[in-house]
Structures are given as structure tokens and as C-alpha cells.
């Protein structure tokens, strides 16, 4: 299972788009960790955007991302505490973090409108990837009903952010 997961991860890394490993069925503690990590990654990217961008729409979108993902992750932590589940680091979380760090380094080199466009485009791609992972892997694999419920709300949040990101990206064209 883990060999297959690593192969999938390697393939995805080569493609260069933010994505999730296929083929492994994560446990609830791993799912909680992946979902939390997905939120942290978007907050980190948004904080970079708030520092770098001078575009009003981009900065305001980034602030929305920080506020929403921090609020949801706080709720997620409260839930895992209540369920007595300890989020467990795993290959998918590690790969996501690694990919995000690489993306952030890439974005750090850009300036002005080029940065804004690249950030918005990455937000669109990232949110699509997370929605896909939630719907096809994390939600079906989760066994706790409350965790599943939070992930389902997560899909709606990410869909909302995706639409918002698409509006911002369209405005920048």
C-alpha cells in the first residue's frame, strides 16, 4: 500500500500540480492530519500574498483565506480533541507540505502582476485539488460521522473559495 502511495506521490510531484496521493486508504487520525495540513498550507500561501501583493482584490481574498481556514482548523482541533483522536502525520501530509513549500519558493521570486496572477492561478488549482481529494478519498475513507460531516462542510468552503479565487483570477486578466 505504501509503495503504491509513494509511486503515486512521485508521479504527482513530476506533474508539478498540487495534488494528493491516489490509492491509499487513510485512517481517521491521518485524515484529520491531512485536512488540517491542507488548511495550514492555504493560510501560509495567503500570508505570503498579504505581504507581497499590492492588489486590493488579491490582498482581500488572501485575508479571507486566513480568516476562514484558521476558523475551520480551530473547529477541526476542537473536534479531534472531543473525539480523542490524535492527528497522525503521514506521507500525504508530508508530500502536500513539501509541494506547498516548493510552490511558495517559486512564487517568492515573482513580483507585481506576475505574482498576483500566479498566486490566484495556484489558489484555483489548489482548491480544486483539495475538493477532489476530499470527495474521492478523504470523505469516503473517514469512519467517524462527525469527522465526515466536518469534511463535507469543508468541501462547501473550498468550493466557495474556488469560485472566489476564479473571480479574482478573472479580474487579473
Amino acid at each position: 500500500m505504501f509503495a503504491r502511495l509513494s509511486t503515486a506521490v512521485a508521479v504527482i510531484c513530476l506533474l508539478g500540480t498540487p495534488s494528493f496521493a491516489q490509492g491509499a486508504k487513510p485512517t481517521d487520525p491521518q485524515i484529520a492530519h491531512i485536512a488540517y495540513t491542507a488548511g495550514v498550507i492555504d493560510v501560509t500561501a495567503a500570508k505570503q500574498a498579504i505581504k507581497k501583493s499590492k492588489n486590493k482584490a488579491v490582498v482581500s481574498f488572501a485575508k479571507d483565506m486566513v480568516r476562514d481556514h484558521e476558523a475551520v482548523n480551530k473547529q477541526a482541533l476542537a473536534l479531534v480533541k472531543k473525539l480523542k483522536v490524535t492527528p497522525e502525520d503521514n506521507d500525504t501530509s508530508r508530500t502536500l507540505t513539501k509541494q506547498a513549500a516548493a510552490k511558495q519558493a517559486e512564487l517568492a521570486k515573482l513580483k507585481g502582476a506576475a505574482y498576483d496572477k500566479a498566486y490566484a492561478a495556484n489558489e484555483v488549482a489548489y482548491h480544486k485539488a483539495v475538493i477532489g481529494a476530499l470527495e474521492t478519498q478523504l470523505i469516503p475513507a473517514s469512519s467517524n460521522a462527525e469527522l465526515k460531516g466536518l469534511l463535507e462542510t469543508g468541501v462547501k468552503i473550498f468550493q466557495g473559495h474556488l469560485e472566489h479565487a476564479e473571480h479574482v483570477a478573472a479580474e487579473l486578466k
Binding site: 480568516r67 476558523a71 475551520v72 463535507e152 462547501k156 468552503i157 466557495g160 469560485e163 472566489h164 473571480h167
Partner: protein, 107 residues
């Protein structure tokens, strides 16, 4: 004039005066839970108050493009008085997949 008749006449004046007062404004409650406005479609009239009850941990807005924009902080209740007649579609600026509709009748 009989005392009873006088009373009826006075009553008539009072009722007549009340008749000219517009119908009482209502408060319509719209719940927000897990990124859904419920009910999503409502009918109201000018002067009515919409009261959004945000159960989410997220901030939302009720926004009509090119018109009003109401901020609805997490776990808060926010009221808004309808001022114009017409059918309006509103959405949340932060989560544009959240949509609602209000049919606003004149007073």
C-alpha cells in the same frame, strides 16, 4: 345621540386612522448553517426586516451586486431593513456558492 352610538363613531375615527397606517412590518429569519441560507427563497415587502442568524464559525455576507452588502460575522445575528421593491438575488462575497433570493413587494 345615544351614548353607544357616540362610542361607535369614535371607534370609527380610530379605526379609520389606523387604516391609513401601513401594514405592520415583519421580521423574517434566515438561518445560515454549513454555508447554506435557509430558507433560500423568501417573500417580503418593503419595510420588512431580514434577520440572518449565522450559525457558522465563518464570516458571511448577504450581497446584492451593485446594491446592498451586509456583513454577517460568525455566530452573530444581523438585521437589514428592505428599502426597495423588486426581486433580488443575493450571495456571499466570501463563498459565492451561497445564494439566496428575496421577492420584495411594495408597501
Amino acid at each position: 345621540m345615544l351614548p353607544g352610538l357616540k362610542f361607535v363613531a369614535v371607534l370609527g375615527v380610530v379605526v379609520g386612522a389606523m387604516g391609513s397606517i401601513p401594514a405592520q412590518a415583519e421580521t423574517i429569519r434566515v438561518n445560515i448553517d454549513k454555508l447554506v441560507f435557509a430558507p433560500a427563497n423568501i417573500s417580503a415587502k418593503v419595510g420588512d426586516t431580514i434577520q440572518w442568524v449565522n450559525e457558522d464559525v465563518l464570516a458571511h455576507t448577504a450581497t446584492v451586486k451593485g446594491d446592498w452588502d451586509v456583513m454577517i460575522p460568525p455566530k452573530k445575528i444581523v438585521s437589514f431593513v428592505l428599502k426597495k421593491a423588486g426581486d433580488v438575488e443575493y450571495y456571499c462575497r466570501f463563498h459565492p456558492n451561497m445564494k439566496g433570493r428575496i421577492a420584495v413587494a411594495p408597501k
